[in-house]
């Protein structure tokens, strides 16, 4: 028996043929295949005639190939080319004949042979061979053909080209020149894409091939350049992993943007920020504010957008590169002298300044420390002087627009009469935004006036935790701080001073520092608020713990905007030898001077480090990292050297984290250092290496980083390192939250509790605020884990995921809140998980329920402060006071519309969805807590009628607070301020069902839309439902994104503007002060914009159950 050997390639490849159109007849021997291959799907010829002649075999053609006469060979090849799609199994047995034809130099149709060979190899799944022959086929390989063969090969071709060009661009040495034929095909393809109008494809290919020339061509040739530019920008952020090339792309984008007739300055400046080019941004902004009103609005919008990325160093650089306001033109003295000051509403200046004395006097007692009227709002900013007030006054005396002490409108008119001063005003406003002053003030105001935190929750916690259990005691304090982060509402603390005083030593430190979280962003008053606790020169009266805490608090208040305070902090640091105070001062300095790479501060902090005190050294290590965030400075090596030198684990840990912070965002450039750290013998340094990976590759979803982290997560010997490695995944994947649960799902079932903890935190970090159902279902089992600290992590992570989620959106929230309550109330619960539950409560309702955790800004850039804050926060495992760093990652979910004066005009827009879906969660029911919490779900439907009646009553009585009627355990008593249909926020679908049941006597079912007024709470998930009215007087400058700070274009500039009057006590508290009273009455909110605005005393909002 003889079995003719098939060509070995055929033998095993047939089954793998990539795109078989029909079940292939196994390639039988020539001559023998006969009708075996006469299967369905063969071309049927002569459709026009009656008879169908079916080609059953290609063996005849193959035989003809072996004829002597070239004409015959050609004929055979031509026919084979046509039939190869169906007869490739037969042809493949004779592929060598075709190959030899291709190699035969004398044969004049070699290209045709190559094409046939290419097709056969394609069907055999040998794409590499196929590509080689396709290249040999030259012009015969037609990229425009629509066949699968061509598409596959073109794709292969492009892949090949991409990998070659990427390799070429990454190796320094001269690489062999690319095959010009390959290049030709790719270019042909690109041209075809462009010719067909598929510009997005062309852009994608060009980006991947690193062909800037083609990229430019594709963009400029398209009809819709702006959208393509935006697309490219997004691609370059998400898909271009190589920094260098990304920068090249960005530079190109900037060039194209600028060449557009109406450049999109927002995008340009985003690009420039990625490129770290502050001077061009400054020039652009300067040009813009020299233009008309709309240009100025764009400039402000750009500035706000830049601000949102929270890149302090860059912002300051931009600001410093803007021209100085001329001395002649008004307020500049204030503007440049104390740059962070006066920004907001210059036009209002005459009024407010005149009123300054009064305003100063009455702005004092805003917050908890009832210090007298001494601190002017400027005090902290001029803090270098011990008694700043005197200096402030003269500044104000220089009044710019004297002619009218009239309200703003008049002043504005007058101002506009002189172009110069208009420019100066704009410039000052712009600087105000860039320095962070304006947005921080606006945010603070928003958070204050919309604070919806539920004191009852805290009260419940306070009552249930054991007094002697200091962990839970401090946890409650932490929780309170987070709940009121940035709202300046410290009622809870003031109501419970006795209870608070149980905090001793480090608990006292964190209690004091908590004030910093509550007053976060309260830049003007920050220092005066903390004054009672701050170290007094010479008099070592207060406890070092509260002094240290106060310094830390100052840092938190001024986090990332510490220009005014860092000098003070530095002096405090120099003046003390107490390690607790040093600890606080270091953390405070690190926060205030975040990422500024200030040499002077660095040296002083380093001196603290070299004292080799464990407590102070740890903070110093972190502070050095914070100072140098993202600079990749060679200081990292210095820190690493000291980490090897010292014996204190705490210091090593602080330094390890510090080093990780230094390489923030450096991606590949940090690899050497990361490698060095991850290979270290010391587990703490390896642990730092994990953080370095996390931060260097934050939000990039870089595959190699993920691979390395996963490797450490399963192979390191130290539990700490493994835990951190898993946790770090959360940072790397924070730009793609939907990926994280999938990647860590296996790890969350690990036998190792540390890995489980890490998995929970990773999900919490990357899915924060998304309420993603995968994340919830992953975390849910972990919240009842057998190990206490896993429960703690899972509870915290769950709270992060569910931030600002209502039950209407996800019913898990209700269950989770009940679970938290149960854990807190349970006497036998472990302290660890109790602490987790208490913190979870705080995170869930953070910032008066108006903030969410956002690690990426709305424009898709990573918010450095937020990521850094989150990273340091995750250190609370070792050091509880670091918990407060989470406040850095809070971002207010607000829509704040501003007019050209940076004030909030009255402006309504529509949220096109049931209000309950994104509303505030209802306040919990009063004292009989346990039963009350469970109550709603149990009786909802049955008590519907009674409830309806009650509701009506409640509505009748006006806004009766829920607490006033203890019997009403139902949720309906959530008499929100907006109290109309919001009441139905009970529990999602139940609520709706209930209403249907209740029938006609009920109010009509919940409205499908809601009218929101500027400024409004718009949670991220809600953004897509926001619609602007067409007939509105104001138009957003940038329509893409209805949240954050939005500049509004006034379509009827001649009409007098109606500004939003907020319920802040500023108007109430300011009356009778000064001549401005009248003005305030006329345009109450003017106070908002005014630089002397202060958060008002919180009392007016408080409610007593």
């Amino acid at each position: 028996m003889v079995v003719r050997a098939l060509s070995p390639r055929v033998h095993h490849e047939v089954g793998l043929a990539p795109r078989e159109k029909f079940a292939p007849a196994s390639p039988s021997d020539r001559g023998a295949s006969g009708s075996t291959s006469a299967v369905a799907g063969l071309p049927q010829h002569g459709p026009e005639g009656g008879t169908m002649t079916v080609v059953s075999t290609a063996s005849g053609l193959l035989a003809m190939l072996r004829e002597q006469h070239p004409v015959l060979k050609l004929h055979a090849l031509n026919n084979l080319n046509a039939f190869v799609d169906h007869f490739w199994p037969e042809v493949s047995t004779n592929i060598s004949a075709i190959e030899s034809l291709y190699e035969d130099e004398t044969f004049d149709q070699r290209q045709l042979a190559a094409l046939v060979a290419s097709k056969v190899f394609y069907y055999l799944g040998e794409l590499n061979d196929s590509l080689i022959y396709a290249l040999g086929a030259g012009p015969l390989f037609d990229v425009t053909e629509e066949s699968e063969y061509v598409q596959t090969l073109v794709a292969k071709c492009i892949d090949e080209y991409i990998s070659l060009s990427v390799k070429a661009s990454e190796t320094i040495e001269e690489s062999p020149p690319l095959d010009p034929r390959l290049l030709a095909i790719v270019e042909k393809m690109l041209d075809k894409c462009m010719a067909d109008g598929k510009f997005q494809q062309a852009v994608g290919i060009a980006l991947e091939c690193r062909r800037l020339d083609k990229l430019e061509e594709a963009i400029t040739k398209s009809e819709n350049i702006p959208s393509l530019l935006a697309y490219t920008l997004r691609l370059s952020q998400t898909f271009v992993t190589k920094r260098e090339f990304r920068h090249a792309v960005l530079r190109l984008l900037v060039r194209i943007y600028q060449s557009q007739p109406s450049p999109d300055y927002l995008s340009i400046c985003q690009c420039l920020m990625f490129l770290d080019d502050p001077s061009t941004v400054a020039t652009t902004l300067d040009d813009l504010i020299k233009g008309d009103k709309v240009d100025a609005l764009s400039a402000y919008q750009v500035a706000f957008d830049l601000f949102e990325n929270e890149y302090q160093l860059f912002l300051l650089n931009v600001r410093d590169r803007l021209p100085e306001v001329r001395a002649s033109s008004s307020l500049d003295v204030a503007g440049s002298g104390a740059p962070a000051a006066v920004p907001v509403a210059m036009p209002a200046q005459p009024v407010t300044a005149d009123a300054d004395n009064g305003a100063t006097a009455d702005s004092g007692p805003t917050a908890m420390d009832t210090s007298d009227g001494e601190p002017s709002e400027r005090t902290p900013l001029l803090a270098r002087e011990p008694s700043p007030a005197p200096q402030v006054q003269p500044v104000h005396v220089v009044q710019p627009v004297r002619e009218s002490p009239e309200p703003t409108a008049a002043a504005e008119d007058a101002a506009e009469s002189s172009e110069m001063s208009t420019y100066a005003q704009r410039l000052t406003r712009l600087k105000g935004i860039l320095s962070g002053e304006t947005p921080i003030n606006l945010t603070l105001q928003f958070l204050y006036s919309n604070n919806r935190s539920d004191l009852l929750i805290l009260k419940t916690i306070k009552q249930t935790v054991e007094l002697r259990n200091s962990v839970c005691h401090s946890a409650t304090i932490y929780s309170n701080a987070l709940m009121h982060a940035g709202t300046t509402v410290d009622t809870f603390l003031r109501d419970n001073l006795d209870w608070l005083s149980r905090a001793t030593n480090w608990a006292k430190f964190s209690a004091t520092a908590g004030l910093g979280v509550i007053h976060r962003g309260h830049l003007q008053q920050g220092r005066s608020l903390m004054a009672p606790y701050l170290p007094q020169n010479g008099t070592g009266g207060a406890s070092p713990y509260s002094e240290g805490g106060a310094l830390y608090a100052l840092g938190l208040i001024h986090a990332n905007h510490g220009e005014g305070i860092k000098q003070f902090l530095l002096e405090s640091l120099k003046n003390t030898n107490n390690e607790v105070i040093q600890h606080g001062a270091c953390l405070g300095l690190g926060l205030a001077a975040l990422g500024t790479a200030d040499e002077e501060i660095y040296e002083d902090v380093k001196n603290v480090l070299y004292t080799d005190s464990a407590v102070a050294g740890e903070a110093a290590g972190i502070a050095m990292g914070l100072l140098m965030v993202g600079t990749a400075s060679e200081k990292a090596g210095e820190m690493l050297a000291y980490a090897h030198e010292t014996q204190h684990e705490k210091i090593i840990r602080g330094l390890a984290l510090g080093i990780a912070l230094v390489v923030y965002g450096q991606e590949e450039e940090a690899d050497t250092l990361i490698e060095q750290m991850t290979r270290d013998q010391d587990p703490i340094l390896r642990y730092g290496g994990m953080y370095a990976l996390a931060l260097a590759y934050r939000g990039t979803a870089n595959n190699s980083a993920i691979r390395r982290l996963l490797h450490f997560a399963v192979s390191d010997v130290s539990d700490d390192v493994r835990r951190t490695a898993v946790l770090a995944l959360g940072f790397v994947l924070c730009s793609e939250p939907e990926q994280t649960p999938r990647i860590v799902s296996l790890l969350s079932e690990s036998y190792n509790a540390h890995v489980r903890y890490g998995a929970a935190m990773a999900v919490g970090i990357s899915c924060a605020g998304t309420a993603s159902s995968e994340a919830i279902s992953l975390l849910e089992p972990l919240t009842s884990d057998a190990v206490d600290f896993v429960r703690q992590g899972a509870l915290i992570a769950m709270a992060m995921v569910l931030m600002q989620t209502t039950e209407a959106r996800d019913p898990h929230v209700g269950a989770f809140r009940r679970q938290l309550e149960k854990i807190i109330l349970d006497k036998h619960e472990d302290t660890m998980s109790k602490m987790g539950a208490i913190l979870a409560q705080g995170i869930l309702d953070a910032g008066g329920r108006n903030v969410t955790i956002m690690l990426q800004s709305r424009s898709g850039h990573d918010r450095m402060t937020a990521v850094v804050g989150m990273a340091v926060f995750s250190q609370f495992w070792y050091w509880y006071p670091l918990l407060y760093f989470i406040s850095l990652s809070f971002a207010p979910t607000a829509f704040i519309g501003l007019n050209h004066e940076l004030r909030m005009p009255r402006f309504d827009f529509i949220s096109d969805i049931r209000p309950s879906v994104f509303g505030y969660p209802p306040s919990i029911a009063p004292p009989t807590t346990t039963s009350a919490v469970k109550f709603p779900t149990a009786v909802l439907s049955t008590s519907a009628r009674a409830k309806a009646r009650q509701k009506k009553d409640a509505a009748g009585k006006g806004h009766v607070l829920g607490g006033s009627s203890p019997g009403h355990a139902d949720v309906g008593s959530s008499a929100e301020v907006s109290g109309d249909f919001n009441e139905t926020t009970s529990s999602g679908k139940d609520g709706t069902a209930m209403e249907v049941e209740a029938g006609p006597e009920k109010k009509p079912a919940e409205a499908n839309t809601e009218v929101l007024s500027n400024p409004a709470r718009v949670v991220p998930a809600q953004e897509k439902y926001i619609k602007f009215r067409e007939d509105s007087r104001y138009m957003p400058v940038k329509r893409s994104r209805p949240s954050g700070f939005v500049m509004l274009k006034d379509l009827e500039p001649s009409e007098p503007e109606e500004l939003v009057s907020t319920d802040t006590p500023i108007s109430a508290g300011a009356p009778g002060t000064a001549p401005s009273a009248a003005a305030a009455a006329n345009a109450p909110p003017s106070g908002l914009g005014a630089d002397d605005w202060d958060p008002p005393p919180p009392e007016s909002f408080e409610y007593i159950p």
């Binding site: 080609v55 035989a63 039939f83 399963v714 036998y751 190792n752």
Partner: protein, 267 residues
Amino acid sequence: MEAKLAECTRIFQKFKAAYQQNDYDTCSNLLSQLKVKLTEFPALPPAYKQTSTAVQELILAREIFEHAIVLSVKTEDQDAFERHFLQLKPYYTDTRDLIPRSREEYPILGLNLLRLLVQNRIAEFHTELELLPPEAHENPCIKHAVELEQSFMEGAYNRVLSARQAVPHETYVYFMDLLAKTVRDEIAGCSEKAYDFLTVADAKKILMFSTDRELQEYAAEDHNDWDIRNGCVYFQKVKDLAPCKEIPSLQLINQTLGYARELERIV
């Protein structure tokens, strides 16, 4: 098209005439011309265009290839035979509905079977056979080939050799001659396996040689490894029974340890 057809027919007439005179060189030249001409006819396989002259074209082409096959037998060119046969085949299989059967079909198919037998390509032989309709097996030409194959398989080599006398067609003679050689090869192959050595006399008998010299020539030509000495033919058995492979124990141990380690790490 008509003109081309006429032209082709004319050349074909010339070819036939030359063939009659056994002028094979002229035949080959003309055939080559004809084949080139045929590529210009669209009705031929694999295009099968429906043209007005399609039937004539097909019949003419078929006849040309049939003649080409016979010519290749005459010139004893097996490659050309195969080439032409493969090109002819579509006219028998694919065009059944278009043109009447050729008289020559079975003789040529039988000839092809015989060729496969001669070339000892038994698998293909059977494939071809399976493709034939049952009634074809009654045809003497096919039957002849089938019987030969059976005898061949049974080892009844004498019957194979004696069948030469009963060829159904004169062209078969060429292959029948070749068949003797195939049979001899087969026997030689079997002998190698079956015996360590044979006496020259026995070998001569088995391999159907009349003289020692013929045997020696045959051995020298096809079986270099045979050793003829002392009146015996020694078949050099290829001792390719490789010793049992040693178990790669170290490697296995390492692998197993590796798995154990990995299992430990699984989380």
